[in-house]
């Protein structure tokens, strides 16, 4: 009981500095774990989010913009694809499936995307198909009907049978209301993909909406493609990107999203650097707080020595105390991590529909706490050495 008791009593005696120091450790550990987990999970999830398609065909422009617009329902469309181009790609022998989409309207901030009912026959992830909640159905291709993604339906409080009027543009403007009424025929079960944030309309319904340019009524914003073979992607790339100059063929979808993470990798490096610095400062504060308390504790340490405690027991007690502060911080760090991660995951879900899993495991979840304990123990070495060298006779009483 000796060592644990000495450590426990010492931590209690210096409760305030223990709490402040452990809080710093908790913040550093939580931040580090959160940065790491969000980075790795977001990268893995985003690059795997293809909604079941291999490629996207769109107007000439950035591949990344095309993918973000057509798959993640972010950004503006780079332009339109003429009906003839859509027909051509649809009938191309290398193409297995071609699903058109049209964007440009919203329902109180949530995107309205026109498409063909066949979209919902595609597996959005291996072995996973779209399902409509009980009591609903997919819209008819030629009707003023809508199917809402689960997240959009929840936020917009939509249910089967509700009617709504779309608003023009991607940003919500109450004055830009269309005169067309759409009936909600179904709500999709959650897919944890960007599909959840969209209210889906029949392509014709969106194209022919009042106020839209009749000349562009047959154009689409992009075409989502499934290829018959992987080699087809290279042939289509040659055809559209290298030989053609009107359209962009974005393939493969996952690799293009990975490029985005490559471009913003500096951001998580900065966050990780901040976390490392916080950890370093926290370890320094462990050193400072224990070191500063050494003057007040010299007498206690000398008494323990006089009672028969070995120098190495005293050294071990101070070192263990520092490690305990680290361990306390590491444990509380998990609470910090969960709060931060859930906050970030909610923001990502709200913005992109992509869901990050708070229960997922990654080695950083044990490496970070262990590193914090080790770092704090390292911070405890200097005060432990000071304790080790405490002169018993001088400290206890002046010689007489």
């Amino acid at each position: 009981m000796t060592l644990p008791l000495i450590i426990y009593r010492s931590l209690r005696q210096h409760a305030l500095s223990t709490l402040v120091t452990a809080s710093g450790i908790a913040l550093a550990s939580g931040l580090l774990m959160c940065v790491w987990m969000v980075k790795t999970q977001a990268q893995a999830t985003f690059t795997q989010t293809t909604s079941g398609f291999d490629a996207v065909l769109g107007a000439r422009g950035s591949k990344l913009q095309l993918v973000l617009n057509a798959i993640f329902h972010l950004e503006a469309s780079p332009g339109n694809v003429a009906a003839a181009d859509y027909e051509m790609v649809r009938k191309h022998p290398l193409i297995k499936t071609a699903i058109p989409i049209a964007v440009g309207d919203n329902l109180r901030g949530f995107r309205l995307v026109g498409t063909a009912p066949e979209l919902f026959d595609v597996q959005y992830a291996p072995g996973k198909k779209f399902t409509v909640r009980a009591g609903g159905r997919i819209f008819a291709g030629d009707a003023k009907e809508a199917v809402a993604g689960s997240f959009a339906a929840q936020r917009l409080k939509l249910k089967v049978g509700d009617t709504f009027r779309p608003f023009h543009g991607l940003a919500f403007d109450p004055k830009a209301e269309h005169a067309d009424d759409f009936v909600v025929t179904g709500i999709l079960e959650p897919t944890n993909t960007p599909v959840d944030r969209v209210v889906w309309l029949p392509l014709r319904g969106l194209q022919t909406m009042s106020g839209h340019d009749p000349k562009a009524a047959t154009d689409v914003s992009a075409v989502l493609l499934q290829l018959r073979t992987p080699i087809a992607g290279l042939q289509m790339d040659m055809m559209y990107n290298k030989q053609g100059n009107r359209l962009t063929f974005a393939y493969p979808v996952g690799a293009i999203v990975a490029e985005l993470f490559g471009k913003i990798s500096w951001f998580d490096q900065v966050l990780a650097l901040v976390a490392y610095l916080v950890a370093l400062v926290a370890a320094g504060s462990v050193l400072a707080s224990i070191y500063n308390s050494m003057s007040a504790r010299r007498r206690d340490l000398a008494i323990l020595r006089a009672l028969g405690a070995k120098r190495r027991t005293i050294f071990g007690a101070v070192l263990s105390e520092a490690a305990c502060i680290g361990a306390l911080g590491a444990v509380v760090g998990f609470a910090v991590y969960f709060v931060l991660f859930i906050g970030v995951a909610n923001i990502i879900r709200a913005q992109t529909g992509v869901v990050l899993d708070v229960t997922a495991f990654h080695p950083v979840l044990w490496i970070s706490p262990v590193a914090m304990v080790a770092l704090c123990a390292l911070g405890g070495v200097v005060p432990a050495l000071k304790a080790y060298r405490t002169p018993v006779a001088e400290t206890l009483a002046p010689a007489s």
């Binding site: 008791l5 009593r9 020595r305 006089a306 009672l307």
Partner: protein, 225 residues
């Protein structure tokens, strides 16, 4: 029980000179014997006790406790011997302020070979009349009660030799007498030898066996000459 011979200790003065504090040719104490040394402040009596306890290493000479030569041991072994065979009562009690009364006594035992024994610690505190103060902290006790905790702690480990450095120095006469009686009584019960140093004639007068430290400490005699 205790045998000291040719024990010397000196310190460097602020001026850089080496000043001899202790120079004792011989000193011995039998098992269970109670002995008092008279010494004024600065006479080197605390240093003498610290040398016996192994808290300080001598420049030369030997200290043997219960047949084991303390001065020949390295520091960890001296610590071990101190925890095993010695009890030390300080003038300022030197209780650990962050620990309860019971924990203070148990800590005193935990470095010894038998380890902390809660039941025995309770018994010791009951013996010194503090059974109702087990979970109090030292600051919550009177000075006399603190000294009784120090006595219980010094004797909890069943030491062969108890060193008491001005144990009543911080107590008034009445409480001083009570504390001293308690120390002597408990030492007798545990068959522990007692070596007490004090400058208080009232304390010294209660010991049949007593001596001026100046008589055995040649370093003081040198200064006097």
């Amino acid at each position: 029980m205790l045998a000291v011979s040719e024990l010397k200790k000196s310190f460097l003065s602020p001026e850089g000179d080496r000043v001899e504090i202790v120079n004792v040719a011989t000193f011995a104490l039998a098992a269970g014997e109670q002995f008092a040394l008279r010494g004024e402040s600065g006479s080197g009596k605390t240093t003498f006790l610290n040398l016996i306890a192994g808290i300080l290493a001598p420049d030369s000479g030997r200290v043997a406790i219960d047949g084991v030569e303390m001065s020949a041991l390295n520091e960890p072994k001296r610590d071990r011997l101190r925890a095993e065979k010695l009890g030390y009562i300080f003038q300022t009690f030197n209780l650990l302020q962050g620990f309860t009364v019971l924990e203070n006594v148990m800590l005193g035992m935990s470095f010894g070979p038998r380890g902390a024994d809660k039941a025995h610690a309770r018994d010791m505190l009951e013996r010194v009349g503090l059974a109702h103060r087990l979970h109090h902290f030292p600051r919550q006790l009177s000075t006399g009660q603190q000294q009784r905790v120090a006595v219980a702690r010094a004797l909890a480990n069943r030491p062969k030799l108890v060193l008491a450095d001005e144990p009543t120095g911080n107590l008034d006469r009445k409480h001083g007498r009570e504390a001293l009686a308690l120390i002597r009584e408990v030492c007798r019960e545990h068959q522990a030898a007692l070596l007490l140093v004090s400058h208080d004639e009232d304390v010294l007068g209660q010991f049949e066996a007593r001596q001026d430290f100046g008589v055995i400490n040649r370093a003081v005699q040198e200064v006097a000459r």
